[in-house]
């Protein structure tokens, strides 16, 4: 089993006290505890403070475009399903710029995990509202307060029968690590939305604010009940539940793709000789 130190990468350039540090530490520990080696995991990230995370680790990394983590991660999994593929995104990254890809990743159900660093604000661009910002929030770009309704990724994902839906909190890294392990080992597309305080730009949703509200779903909570899960996902305000909200066991995209059942696509040998008879079809 690798030690979590083996995943140590470059020195993070995040603000001191940022919730991302706990996420980074949890992901390293989760991978170490699962016995996944650095060369067996691919982290695909987008742009935003979350997008830098793979650089602070040691593993295969594709740090792509803002919002486009899921298409890259899905295709990389289709190309080589022996890799553990984790998409790391932010709330602006995944729910705004990449919203369409989020919907369709749920539908495709590749066996990949999506960890969303949800700080309810845009950090890298210095403090504009994100889809998960509270309605009425005043920022430099929302002079009349944020007029849009708050996006609820969990209820959306549950309504679409997403294979695994969970919420963690950066302020509870031990619980977060366990959720990450559950997401990584779950067979299917797993969404883990992580409440991550932004200490610089979000003066509302602070560590303190979350600590007063976040609680864990009950031990006897049944994650296979879609209606109940939807109800619990709507809870937000004085009380914010965390844990695994929903699970739906179903075939993954890779399992349904008949051409990669025998071996990963990337391992199939190619010789032009095998295809030359194709031309006969045009005579």
């Amino acid at each position: 089993m690798p030690a979590s130190e083996e995943y140590k990468g470059q020195v993070p350039a995040w603000c001191p006290g940022c919730g991302n540090f706990q996420i980074l530490s949890a992901i390293k520990q989760a991978l170490a505890e699962l016995g996944i080696e650095p060369w067996e995991v691919l982290l695909v990230s987008g742009i935003g403070q979350s997008g830098k995370l793979p650089h602070y680790m040691k593993c295969h990394t594709f740090n792509g475009l803002h919002g486009r983590t899921l298409p890259v991660a899905t295709a990389a999994k289709l190309a080589n399903h022996s890799l553990h593929v984790i998409a790391v995104a932010g709330d602006g990254d995944c729910y705004a710029e990449g919203g369409n890809h989020f919907l369709h990743a749920i539908r495709r159900n590749p066996n990949i995990s999506l960890f969303v660093h949800n700080n309810q604000i845009y950090g890298l661009t210095k403090g504009q509202a994100s889809p998960t910002s509270a309605r009425g929030m005043h920022t430099k770009a929302q002079p009349f307060g944020y007029l849009s309704h708050q996006f609820n990724p969990l209820s959306l994902a549950i309504s679409q029968d997403c294979s695994f839906v969970a919420r963690g909190f950066a302020g509870d890294p031990e619980h977060l690590k366990e959720l990450m392990k559950a997401a990584i080992t779950h067979k299917g597309f797993s969404l883990l939305d992580i409440l991550q305080p932004c200490v610089t730009f979000n003066k509302v949703n602070t560590f303190k604010w979350y600590r007063e509200r976040v609680y864990k779903l009950e031990d006897d909570y049944d994650p296979y009940n879609q209606i109940k899960a939807f109800e619990r996902a709507l809870e937000w305000g004085d009380k914010i539940p965390s844990g695994i909200f929903y699970k739906s066991d179903k075939e993954t995209l890779e399992e349904m793709m008949p051409t990669i059942r025998e071996m990963p696509l990337v391992r199939k040998k190619f010789s032009p000789e095998d295809i030359k008879h194709e031309i006969e079809k045009f005579y």
Binding site: G9, Q10, E37, P38, W39, E40, L42, V44, I47, K52, P54, H55, K58, C59, H60, T61, F62, N63, G64, L65, R68, L70, P71, V72, A73, T74, A75, A76, L78, A79, N80, S82, L83, N100, H101, L103, H104, M257, P258, T259, I260, L265, V266, R267, K268, F270, S271, P272, D274, I275, K276, E278, I279, F282, Y283
Partner: protein
């Protein structure tokens, strides 16, 4: 018919949904299997039912590379077709129609009234078989026999059972006999038997698809858009047989990012789209540029801007594709002139994309994409396949892998993540260091730009072949074209060469421009009295590119931007006007 060579044009016209493609496609296949050379082109509206469409088939005992305006046989499935096309029918030509279906009896020596529908009902017990009657009738007119059609009918209706097959064969035969015995001037055709030869019949889209397959492409992701959808359909139809992964994306942004994701993970991958979809892909193109991920994009042009003319043709995206993507990175653009060129250039696109870790374009258009040509063969020995990807055994004993290690050529080793032992592959859309991690210092930035752009472009330029010269070797007139105008320019050169010293210069490996060490094509043009650029767009994009790259200015430009391809007659007329 007074032609030196056998050279006939058949046009099948009617509404969308009447089965023009089925009739036209079957006849094209029959002619090519008989041993005639064939050229087809499709003219259709962006609708599923109604309107007016046509499918044109030219066949000859010598090579045919473009469409004619004048036609020998018009098969009219509706009255509209007669009205639109009757003036294009030669005086000694024929118009086949069914007076009962179009509810009008037409007078004149060209008209042959054949009861397609009645025969279908009498013999096939189903009016749907009227198209089989009509196909048989065309063959009867030409006295070409029914053996090939019958075998096509057997294959087409294999799933539908023996009765349907027999009824269709009966309908074809009745149509054949009816036309044959009711055509007083049919001996005028006097069709000689062609040489016994095996010809392949293939369109541009199929050639691109087959080129991709034979280059080891295993992953294709796209969002449907005319006229690129055919590539998606073709590769999807081969997915099971050749073990491909085909993924219809939610949008073109996803399609190109998926293609990059698959390529990063070690699989040869391609995406395809048209101009509008490519507009959405531009950001992803830039991602392929900075991450140095091999990428092949088929960009099938149709007239824009925006939705433009969805089912028609234009060469309007050249400069867009050339300049697409923010920032500076190398790219290659091929624009084939024939399906055969499309096949080889798609293969070369995969080779260069992986060798140099760059995006390469196969740019074409609706016209070439959906035109079928006949060829005696494709030389499969010419296919290139080099696997540039590094796996565990290739990196055994190597020092720690760095995805963007500096090198003299600018090319770094391309390792496959997860298949390269314990070596880690780190790529970044941010500017990065040799290991792939984010940097911002100017020194590394300069080195990276030199590595991925400046060092590579010299090498890439050497891979590009000079334009093709056809016709007189010391001409007074040169017609210069690129991409899909190849066929029509070549035919016009053939016609005009009887009286003039004329040649064609055709560019299919468009960008970067080839070196001039083996053939100084610019000097050649400068020494020619009259150089005319021929383009299927309004602003002469290739001429602009030529001036920018070489300083050469065309004295004349022939531009066509009505959404239709050049025909032989129209291009000749325009060239004559320049002389």
């Amino acid at each position: 018919m007074g032609v030196k060579f056998l050279d006939y044009t058949l046009r099948v016209g009617g509404e969308a949904g009447q089965g023009l493609q089925t009739i036209g496609g079957a006849l094209a296949k029959i002619f090519s299997r008989k041993g005639y050379h064939v050229f087809t082109h499709q003219d259709y509206m962006s609708r599923i039912r109604g309107g007016h469409n046509f499918y044109q088939v030219r066949f000859s005992d010598r090579k045919v590379l473009a469409s004619r305006e004048t036609i020998d046989i018009l098969l009219a499935l509706d009255l509209n077709t007669v009205e639109i096309h009757k003036n294009s029918v030669k005086e000694e030509g024929f118009i086949l129609y069914d007076s009962e279906s179009i509810k009008k009896k037409l007078e004149g020596t060209q008209f042959i009234d054949i009861p397609f529908r009645k025969i279908a009902l009498d013999i096939g017990k189903n009016s749907v078989m009227a198209n089989t009657v009509a196909t048989g009738a065309v063959l009867g007119l030409l006295d070409m026999g029914l053996d090939i059609l019958n075998s096509i009918l057997r294959t087409t209706f294999k799933e539908k059972g023996e009765e349907i097959i027999e009824n269709n064969i009966g309908c074809a035969e009745a149509g054949y006999n009816y036309a044959h015995s009711n055509c007083p001037r049919c001996e005028a055709f006097g069709i000689p038997e062609p040489e016994a030869r095996k010809l392949l019949l293939i369109d541009g889209i199929q050639a691109i698809g087959m080129g991709a397959l034979m280059s080891g492409c295993r992953f294709y992701s796209a969002y449907p858009m005319s006229p690129s959808t055919g590539i998606l359909n073709y590769l999807a139809s081969r997915a099971e047989e050749y073990g491909l992964v085909i993924e219809q994306a939610e949008d073109e942004i996803s399609a190109i990012n998926m293609t990059i994701g698959a390529s990063f993970a070690g699989v040869r991958a391609m995406t395809g789209t048209s101009g509008g979809g490519f507009s959405l892909m531009v950001e992803g193109l830039s991602l392929a540029g900075i991450t140095e991920t091999p990428l092949v994009v088929a960009e099938m042009q149709r007239p824009g801007p925006a939705t433009g003319l969805p089912t028609r043709t234009e060469q309007g995206d050249l400069l867009f594709v050339l300049n697409a993507g923010h920032g500076e990175f190398p790219r290659v653009i091929f624009e084939p002139g024939t399906p055969k060129q499309a096949f080889y250039l798609t293969n070369k696109a995969f080779e260069l994309a992986e060798k140099y870790q760059i995006p390469v374009f196969i740019q074409s258009d609706q016209y070439l994409g959906e035109s079928e040509w006949t060829f005696e063969n494709f030389d499969l020995e010419r296919l290139i396949y080099n696997d540039y990807r590094m796996r565990e055994k290739d990196l055994e004993g190597a020092e720690e892998y760095k995805r963007y290690k500096y090198s003299n050529t600018g090319i770094s080793l391309l390792a496959v993540p997860g298949e390269a032992g314990k070596h880690l592959v780190v790529v970044d859309s941010d500017e990065h260091d040799e290991e792939g991690h984010i940097i911002e210092d100017s020194e590394t930035r300069i080195k990276m730009v030199q590595k991925r752009l400046l060092k590579k472009i010299h090498l890439i330029k050497k891979e590009i072949e000079a334009p093709l010269l056809y016709g007189d070797s010391s001409p007074e007139i040169v017609l210069v074209g690129h991409g899909s105008t190849y066929g029509v320019i070549k035919e016009v050169v053939d016609i005009l060469s009887k009286d003039r010293k004329i040649a064609m210069m055709h560019f299919s490996q468009i960008y970067p421009f080839s070196k001039k060490d083996r053939f100084d094509y610019i000097e050649f043009l400068k020494n020619t009295d009259l150089v005319i650029s021929v383009e299927n767009n309004a602003t002469g994009q290739f001429a602009k590119l030529m001036r920018a790259e070489t300083g050469f200015e065309f004295a004349h430009q022939i531009l066509k931007y009505d959404g239709r391809p050049f025909t032989i007659e129209k291009l000749k007329e325009e060239v004559d006007a320049c002389l």
